[in-house]
């Protein structure tokens, strides 16, 4: 599903965020990307979402070479990916419903279809009763769940999360991870960057550890 071959990313000024990184993630797999801050986790996820372009090497997602996706086609590519940030990035002046509906509206779905899918997504994350609230009226955990609902509303093939539990306590973090597990069980490929090793162990998926921009270890599934 996702294949990195000798992928490098360097920034102007000579900082190498990733150095010849290679790995493969299968369809329907759940993988953690770990490592200290600055190890290159975020960069790796951003390359998958085409927020940034690699400097060298090849990334193939869903059979598609990302280097060959033109700028104009990036939006269509992103519609097949759900991306979740540590800071949920919700629109503060829109209701929960409107936030989750955004990718569907953009993709041109009818209001009926949009409403149906938004409610399904909110139901999944347990926030159906809060659809009219503004993000500021929700707790941090709830806000993150709205972010997840938005990321899954359009039924993406791949779900990418960058430190999704970074702002949450252990119990809430666990709930969020269970949510990701749920989506993974229905076939969505899930890639989560986290430095929370306890959480990582309690879920026991394969993990790729980065260190200074290189793959240090690949921990196989331990259940």
């Amino acid at each position: 599903m996702i294949r990195f071959s000798d992928v490098s990313k360097s920034y102007p000024g000579g900082h190498d965020a990733l150095k010849r990184v290679s790995f493969e993630i299968d369809k329907g797999e759940f993988v953690f990307i770990t490592g200290h801050s600055g190890a290159g986790k975020s960069t790796l996820l951003r390359l998958i979402a085409l927020i940034e372009r690699q400097s060298g090497g090849e990334i193939v997602v869903n059979g598609q070479d990302l280097n060959r996706i033109r700028r104009a086609h990036v939006p269509y590519y992103r519609r097949r990916i759900g991306f979740i940030f540590q800071d949920h990035r919700l629109l503060s002046d829109r209701s929960v419903f409107e936030n989750v509906a955004l990718p569907l509206t953009i993709a041109g779905l009818t209001p009926n279809e949009t409403g149906r899918r938004v409610r399904a997504a909110l139901d999944r994350v347990g926030l159906l009763s809060k659809e009219k609230d503004l993000p500021a009226q929700l707790s941090a955990g709830e806000q993150q769940r709205v972010g997840i609902a938005r990321a899954v509303a359009h039924k993406p093939d791949i779900l990418i999360a960058d430190e999704p539990t970074g702002n949450l306590d252990a119990e809430l973090s666990h709930d969020i991870m269970e949510l990701f597990d749920l989506f993974n069980q229905v076939g969505v490929t899930v890639v989560i960057a986290t430095h929370d090793l306890d959480l990582l162990r309690s879920f026991g998926h394969r993990s790729i550890t980065l260190r200074a921009g290189q793959v240090e270890t690949v921990q196989e599934l331990v259940q």
Partner: protein
């Protein structure tokens, strides 16, 4: 990395099946809704921009109206007809004037001669000048008789003038068309000036609208990032800004025309009085609906252009952080 770009099949374009005319229509409806929402959220900022644009548009529109009126006024005068007024000496009485008229009308190149007798001249003066009491105070009639002569088409004007000047009864001789020609030359110059001013102000409208849109894009940077994250194309994000630019122009055009109408209303009564002094039923023409519509269309187009120019550039540069 300059490899050929990948071709997307429709299936690959999006994991959710949507497209076609219905989706396009929904996208525009959403853009209009977003535009109106923005207007509702920041009414003052939008109103200020529109006010600045309206004032900018009112100037060329007002000048255009003034010119159109001057043109209408002068167009009524037939400049091909070199009518002349021949003022006779004050000592010439009406009978002498009639005799002279009869003599002149038989001359070569003369189409028509009309006599304004001294009495007629006095009546006219009393009626329109407002100085009838002054005339009464003077006593007697200080006004000369006048021959109004229409030369035949293609007549030798110089010869007629020379012949008339030689008559002992003639005091002075005036071509009415001289000042009409001067006025028309000034009108032509005015037209050119209005066009130049309109061009310069069109650029101003473009810049003002463009800058307002640039600020709006910058203010909504975070929102635009989120839109891009969830797969919005630049065109989708741009659309509400384009509607905003168009609306800026069109509304400012309408309000600018309103400003001009208000100014016209202010000078209408004095203009009518002035026209009456010249024995004219001339009325100031205001802006007709087709003209207002044209101003709105043109200004809307310029606003759209300004929005396109800046929105396209700045939205393109924003991406997810």
């Amino acid at each position: 990395m300059t490899r050929p770009a990948a071709k997307f099949t429709p299936r690959q374009r999006s994991s959710i099946g949507a497209g076609g005319f219905g989706a396009w229509l929904r996208a525009h409806r959403a853009a209009i809704a977003a535009t109106l929402q923005q207007f509702a959220r920041q009414p003052l900022a939008h109103a200020l921009t529109i006010a600045v644009l309206a004032v900018t548009l009112a100037l060329p529109t007002g000048l255009y109206v003034v010119l159109a009126n001057v043109e209408r006024l002068t167009a009524a005068w037939d400049t091909n007809q070199a009518r002349m007024s021949v003022f006779l000496k004050a000592t010439v009485d009406d009978a002498q004037a009639q005799r002279l008229a009869a003599a002149v009308s038989g001359g070569a190149g003369i189409a028509n001669v009309r006599v304004i007798t001294r009495a007629e001249a006095l009546d006219e003066y009393r009626a329109y000048s407002g100085f009838s009491e002054a005339i009464d105070a003077i006593g007697g009639n200080p006004l000369p008789a006048v021959l109004v002569i229409d030369p035949a088409d293609g007549a030798d004007l110089q010869a007629i003038v020379a012949r008339l000047r030689n008559q002992p009864e003639v005091d002075t001789l005036k071509f009415d068309m001289e000042w009409v020609q001067r006025l028309q030359a000034m009108t032509a110059l005015g037209q050119r000036a209005v066009r130049v001013i309109a061009g310069v102000l069109a650029v101003a409208v473009l810049l003002i609208a463009g800058n307002a849109i640039r600020v709006a894009v910058a203010q909504r940077r975070e929102e635009i990032e989120v839109y891009k994250l969830v797969g919005a194309t630049d065109a989708y994000i741009r659309r509400p800004f384009l509607y905003t630019g168009w609306l800026y122009g069109a509304l400012a055009g309408l309000i600018g025309c309103g400003v001009v109408a208000a100014m016209l209303a202010g000078v209408r009564a004095p203009a009518r009085q002035l026209a009456q002094l010249y024995q004219s039923a001339f009325e100031l023409n205001g802006l007709a609906w087709p003209a207002i519509l044209a101003v709105m269309l043109a200004a809307g187009f310029i606003g759209l252009l300004g929005a396109w120019w800046t929105a396209a550039h700045h939205i393109r540069r924003i991406d997810v952080r």
